[in-house]
């Protein structure tokens, strides 16, 4: 036994050593190619490469850090006297599986093993209980049984609010003064929050109609005109077209938003209830919102039975 460990340790050391040497050589090479400046001695230790001045590593460094690249405009802490929510955000909860506390369970296809299996998760519902009306609770149980076919996410339908905010995809907030755009990566779903000229929702819609206001430094958004076709999660928590969501966005620090939403739907719930979780700024190098146009991954599922038979 001991011998095996010894061999293993020796192998690991050899790999680490080789790696380090290569890195030093690479760095030295880099120093030569990138910095042919006259004063570049001691290239042997790879330290001659000058630390690039004001690396635009994120291009959106908060002014607090004072690290913003010279070329990139710094992100102002406030816009017209209000906190600045601009940027790329994402929740890190397992709430899209189930907004309530849940244990782990198998996924829909045993062939995929651990992939798509559901990890345990702490819920985002304050107090964990959702005050369903009795008949609504029956429907919620049915939804759960049918979740692998009935969840609208399967068909790439717009997720609605609040679900769009805690799906495992980032979204961008573009905040002006009279309008604030929320652009979600999933299904290119989006909405514009009206800070002035509030309107009654003109028609029911998937993403609802968002009227916003400031309460001190908190952005409050009332979402009405929601249709009854979206769910809260993959486990069948649902609502009716009487849903009203009141969201509250508060900056905890430049990179974290405390998000809270009050859910009211007298057709489905006996009283209002709340969800809350943090949204984190995506800080990876050049973190960018990409595109997840999932429609084409659902067409075989939706229209497959209508394809012309080949024979």
């Amino acid at each position: 036994m001991r011998h095996r460990y010894l061999i293993l340790a020796a192998t690991v050391s050899a790999i680490v050593l080789t790696f380090s040497v290569s890195m030093i050589l690479l760095a030295a090479q880099g120093a030569q190619t990138k910095a042919p400046a006259p004063a570049a001695p001691a290239a042997g230790r790879g330290q001659a490469a000058p630390a690039p001045a004001a690396t635009p590593a994120r291009g959106q460094a908060a002014p607090a850090r004072g690290q913003a690249a010279a070329a990139a405009p710094a992100r102002p802490a406030r816009i017209a006297g209000k906190p600045n929510f601009n940027g790329l955000w994402q929740a890190l909860t397992g709430a899209n599986w189930d907004i309530q506390d849940h244990s782990s369970e198998p996924g829909p296809f045993y062939q995929l093993g651990a992939i798509l299996a559901v990890p345990a998760g702490q819920g985002i519902v304050e107090g964990n209980e959702i005050p369903y009306r009795p008949e609504a609770l029956e429907q919620r149980k049915k939804n759960r049984l049918n979740r692998w076919t009935a969840d609208p996410e399967i068909k790439c339908y717009m997720p609605g609010i609040p679900r769009a905010n805690y799906m495992p995809f980032p979204f961008t907030i573009v905040q002006g003064t009279t309008t604030i755009a929320f652009a979600y990566e999933f299904a290119t779903a989006n909405r514009v929050v009206r800070m002035t000229n509030h309107q009654k929702a003109p028609v029911p819609s998937w993403m609802g109609w968002s009227n916003g206001r400031w309460e001190g430094d908190t952005l409050v958004v009332e979402v009405t005109g929601n249709n009854e076709q979206t769910w809260f999660d993959r486990s069948g928590n649902f609502h009716s077209d009487a849903l009203k969501v009141t969201e509250r966005f508060t900056l905890r620090n430049p990179d974290v938003i405390d998000y809270e939403a009050t859910i009211e739907d007298p057709k489905t719930f006996t009283k209002a209830w709340k969800i809350s979780f943090p949204l984190y700024r995506r800080l990876e190098r050049n973190a960018s919102q990409l595109e997840f146009k999932c429609v084409e991954y659902t067409e075989e599922l939706i229209y497959g039975h209508l394809r012309k038979p080949t024979n």
């Binding site: 652009a183 514009v192 819609s205």
Partner: protein, 348 residues
Amino acid sequence: MRHRFLRTAVVVVIAMAAVSLIAVPIVAQAPRPATKAPAWTPPKTPWGDPDLQGIYTSDDYIGLGMNRAAQYGNRLYFTDEEIAAREKNIEATAARDAVEFATPGGNVGTGPPGHWGERARRSPRQKSLITEPENGQTPALTEEGRLRAAQYTRQGAGTARPEDSWEGYTYYIRCISRGIAGSVIPVIYGNGTEIVQGPGYVAILQEMVHEARIVRLDKSPHTGSNIKTYMGDSRGYWDGNTLVIETKNILGNKTGIGGNGGGTPFSEDAKFTERLTRTDKDTIQYTMRVEDPRTYTAPFTFTFPIRREPGYQNFEYACHEGNHGMMNQLSGARADEKAAAEAARQNR
């Protein structure tokens, strides 16, 4: 939702365009000098960027072709007489749209009433969307572009009927995307674009197929070239009062400059440069330059104004969620085939 009406609507638009062309007297006249945009300074956002925000529509340029009719040569603008004639047509159309009930015994089609679409409120000044090259013609396709065009035509209208599968339809009819160029070119409805700005960002939200483009102004590099998307990766900057947006990394062989992103698909190497300049309180001059040397033998530019109009706003266009048109066309085709097979069996 309205897809089932698309074909009819497309026919109507083509007919309208044809009628407009015939109705316009062809008056030979020296080309007007391109009028310089009047010196108008747009307001600034609180953080100092030119303010382009609002909801705009390209409706006035509905039906105006990419290419200029050959007889106009290098003449880009309509004459005042031509514009007057076109505006008469617009008035007549508005009067027809206002009719609430069909005349008894009138010729009623199966298409939607005219007012379901969007209409121009005034005549375009230009005779074509394309302004570069000067003759207003889309440059010739390259060899590779011709092959791609042929393949596109075969898929769409050749051997396989589109009804055989959803794959026979365009990415627009499938509610996926109209692509970067197709999303701005005016069509029969859904021409609304909302612009929202924040420090370091511009969001461009297009009603049709609910596109939401995020343009970063932070001088960050484009995302890696192995990441291709329908709408591409956009970075922008201010050139005076003009917002310049550079986009690349689109998925190749998907969308082109035809209506709603149809037509010869671009290659994945295509590069797009858009310029948005607010020329007065209600107007943005929108320009796109296309460089796709694998598809076109020369770069080209098209331009048109987009305008704020009283009462015009964007609504949620839940295209895929309500794509009954696709379901109905496919199921209709299968039902037809079944009926034909049954008839053939009985006739045997």
